[in-house]
């Protein structure tokens, strides 16, 4: 039994199933991070004292990470665009770069976290540190998830390209939408936590 519109688009909606699915998923993700950002605001305005982010956190490292993530979004688009032009070899390169840049982000994050642990800055010290760990930690889980999907599409998942290139391209596009979202969350997190 075939599920209709997994690859081809439905005439009256102009979309395939996966595309609607990923946008709905992103809508729920917006609500998740939206609730956390709202909590941040409520905690901050209710606090008797709240440090400026740059006095505690490492702004240069985070700036570097911002550049890394934005670059990875570019390579993600290039990966998808190569597939649209049916250039599988080029896709492989860009997709690998996307995953690697995600890895660079995690390594930088590791150094940031271990510096905080080293200085004894743990969630119980203050709500600022606690919300920093909560927000960046949850974002990091999303980075790892996105990397896992992208690595799968680079490796074993790419077999689909041989049998159904269009379906495979759609999958890469949806993975890309998620990756851009993860990038976007960071672009909000960076000023909120580090600069303001």
């Amino acid at each position: 039994m075939e599920i209709p519109y997994t690859v081809e688009t439905r005439e009256d909606t102009g979309l395939n199933n996966g595309k609607i699915g990923i946008w709905l998923f992103l809508a729920s993700e917006v609500m998740l991070f939206g609730a956390l950002f709202a909590s941040y605001i409520l905690l901050r305005v209710g606090a008797s004292e709240w440090p400026r982010g740059h006095t505690i956190l490492n702004v240069p490292l985070a700036t570097f990470n911002t550049v890394v993530l934005i670059t990875s979004s570019v390579t993600m688009v290039m990966a998808w665009a190569s597939l649209m032009r049916r250039k599988f070899g080029v896709f492989r390169v860009y997709q690998a770069l996307t995953v690697l840049l995600g890895g660079v982000f995690l390594v930088v994050k590791y150094f940031e976290y271990s510096a905080k642990f080293h200085h004894g800055l743990l969630p119980h010290t203050s709500n600022f540190i606690a919300i920093y760990f909560t927000l960046t930690g949850l974002h990091m889980i999303h980075v790892i998830g996105g990397m896992a999907v992208n690595a799968y599409l680079w490796g074993p998942g790419a077999k689909l390209y041989k049998t159904n290139p269009e379906w495979f391209t759609n999958r890469v596009e949806n993975a890309g939408l998620f990756w851009h979202f993860v990038d976007l969350v960071w672009i909000f997190l960076f000023p909120t936590l580090y600069l303001l």
């Binding site: 599920i3 609730a35 909590s39 743990l122 709500n127």
Partner: protein
């Protein structure tokens, strides 16, 4: 032109078997991706959890009616750390209360209404071969199952047992409670994941896999109800997930998101840094939990609409108004949450805003209920078992809704807040309201799922027993609440002088609960007996009009013999000039 109305089931099975080899037991019943199997998995698990949650409540009702009286055999059964010598410990009572609420809402009613009926009926009603993402559908059930196992497992934690801070888990109490609360949070994260996966699937399926000709305004009301419900689940659950993550951080990571400065616990200043805000949890929690109320009721309303149209043999009154009301209800449900928080001191401006939106949201509910009642007018009503439950739903939900108005107004909420009146109010909405609708759905779609009718006599016995004892159980709660008895008392108010004249209502209510359990026995017998002995039926035993009745009973893998097409609206009953009193959507003129 030949119609697609009759679909002899045997040919389909034969043709089907020719294409595929039969999958093994595990593939067919445990790791199935077929929406019908998943729907039945959800429904059966949900029913078992309902029974379990009800059992917890029956234990509590003993303590409330006869506080401190020993029941020897229960003491032996449940052990000395719960009921030493048969007398219930306060901690165990708190566990029962928290887990009754959690289990009934998140593991019982919603999985049955959305997971069960949504999965089984929705794809059939829109003429789809399956859900849009069958594997994600399977994962959704598995996440639900794991969440359920986590919640059940928490009862057996050696130190302290299950969560004890109510189904609302208000901090700071929940922050400093025993380890059961951590398990509760982990279980909730599983359940939230499950409903996220499910709701995406429902929305995509509804938009994309509609049969040709089935425009949105030809949807059965049940499909509309599930569609709106899915949006509520999709958008309202993530804030609770956020709240759950924050509370986990508080409990495991030692942060103080919900811990105010200078909190004193058992005479000691709490070791946290402080600076947190307990009200933040309430806002995040109720941002989910008020839409959740509509998640509980909308599928029920959808089922009642189907059953009423079918059994009055006339079109629903005000189909369009109902659709618009459903959409408006869904939207409004996101901006009423703080009416649960009038007594938190959040300020009169906030209270005024939320009492206004609360009064506004009662309008679409009334529109839907009125449309359903007016649909009865002039119909030639068939008093089948599903119809009895649907008719029972109308006044019971009406009582539940009307008693909610004094709670939604911030002034009258002051004396009623946190009394038994509140318990009476929302149980009238959910128990004889939603649960009656779900029972109507079980009796209505059982022949579609199994190919056999349920026994009518046992069904009617079930209905009348449930109808009477639901009221014996819940009506006294209004009186107790108006007498001022708090809902949170371990002894049901026995230690309070002012509560003495009302205490006998506890006894009436408890006997109502136990008799209600007895009234479910005919249903349980009927459910299993009819699998073997029920009257065999064809595709359309109720002479109904919607698309699910075009498929054979039970529908094979892939559902329909021929892909169905919708030629008209969903409720074309008693059309003047037509030969029979119903004209199915799938029948060409």
């Amino acid at each position: 032109m030949a119609t697609t109305k009759t679909a002899p089931g045997h040919d389909v099975h034969a043709a089907h078997a020719g294409h595929h080899e039969e999958p093994g037991f595990f593939k067919k019943y445990v790791f199935s991706t077929d929406h019908k199997v998943i729907g039945i998995q959800y429904a059966v698990t949900g029913l078992l959890f309902l029974l379990f949650g009800f059992s917890l409540m029956m234990l509590m009702r003993w303590q409330l009616a006869y506080p401190g009286q020993a029941v020897g055999w229960l003491g032996k059964l449940l052990g000395d750390n719960r009921m030493p010598g048969g007398v219930m410990l306060p901690e165990f009572y708190n566990e029962l209360g928290a887990m009754h609420g959690t289990i009934m809402v998140f593991l019982g009613v919603v999985p049955l209404a959305v997971g069960g009926f949504g999965n089984f009926v929705l794809p059939l009603q829109i003429g789809a071969p399956d859900m849009a993402f069958p594997k994600i559908n399977m994962m959704s059930y598995q996440c639900y199952f794991l969440g359920g196992v986590t919640m059940l497992g928490s009862f057996f934690i050696p130190a302290g047992g299950a969560a004890q801070s109510g189904w609302t888990s208000y901090p700071p109490l929940a922050n400093i409670a025993g380890s059961g609360q951590t398990w509760w949070l982990i279980g909730m994260i599983f359940l939230i994941t499950s409903s996220l996966l499910g709701s995406i699937n429902f929305i995509v399926t509804t938009i994309q896999l509609r049969a040709p000709g089935l425009t949105f305004m030809r949807f059965p009301i049940f499909v509309w109800a599930q569609f709106v419900t899915s949006f509520l689940l999709l958008l309202a659950f993530p804030p609770l997930e956020a709240a759950g993550v924050l509370q986990l951080m508080d409990r495991v990571g030692g942060s103080s998101f919900f811990m105010p400065s200078g909190l004193v616990v058992s005479g000691q200043v709490a070791a946290n840094a402080g600076g947190g805000n307990p009200l933040l949890w309430q806002h995040l929690f109720w941002f989910l939990a008020h839409p959740e109320v509509y998640v509980l009721i909308l599928p029920g309303m959808g089922i009642v609409a189907e059953v009423i149209a079918n059994n009055t043999r006339k079109p629903l009154w005000g189909y369009r108004s109902m659709v618009y009301a459903l959409g408006f209800l869904g939207f409004m449900s996101f901006i009423v949450w703080a009416h649960h928080m009038f007594m938190t001191g959040m300020g009169t401006v906030m209270s005024t805003f939320f009492q206004t939106t609360t009064m506004i949201i009662s309008i679409p509910s009334v529109v839907i209920l009125t449309a359903l009642i007016l649909s009865l007018w002039g119909g030639s009503i068939r008093f089948t078992t599903p119809m009895l439950f649907a008719l029972g739903f109308l006044p019971m939900f009406g009582i539940g809704g009307l008693t909610g108005l004094p709670l939604g107004l911030s002034v009258t909420d002051i004396p009623l807040h946190d009394t038994y009146y509140v318990i009476g109010h929302f149980h009238y909405v959910v128990a004889p309201g939603t649960l009656f609708a779900l029972m109507a759905g079980i009796y209505y779609w059982y022949p579609k799922a199994t190919g056999r009718m349920m026994n009518d006599f046992l069904g009617k016995l079930h209905f009348w027993g449930s109808f009477v004892f639901m009221n014996v159980l819940f009506m006294p709660m209004f009186f107790l609440g108006l007498a001022g008895v708090s809902r949170r008392l371990y002894d049901g108010g026995a230690s309070y002088q002012f509560a003495q004249p009302a205490l006998h209502y506890n006894v009436i209510s408890s006997w109502g609960a136990w008799m209600l359990a007895v009234a479910q026995i005919p249903f349980i017998i009927n459910f299993f007996m009819s699998l073997k002995t029920g009257r065999k039926v064809g595709p359309n035993p109720w002479d109904a009009t919607t698309l699910e009745w075009a498929a054979p009973s039970p529908p094979p893998h892939g559902n329909f013999e021929h892909p169905p097409e919708a030629y008209r609206g969903p409720y074309e009953y008693s059309v003047p000039g037509h030969g029979s009193d119903f004209q199915p959507q799938f029948e060409r003129a």
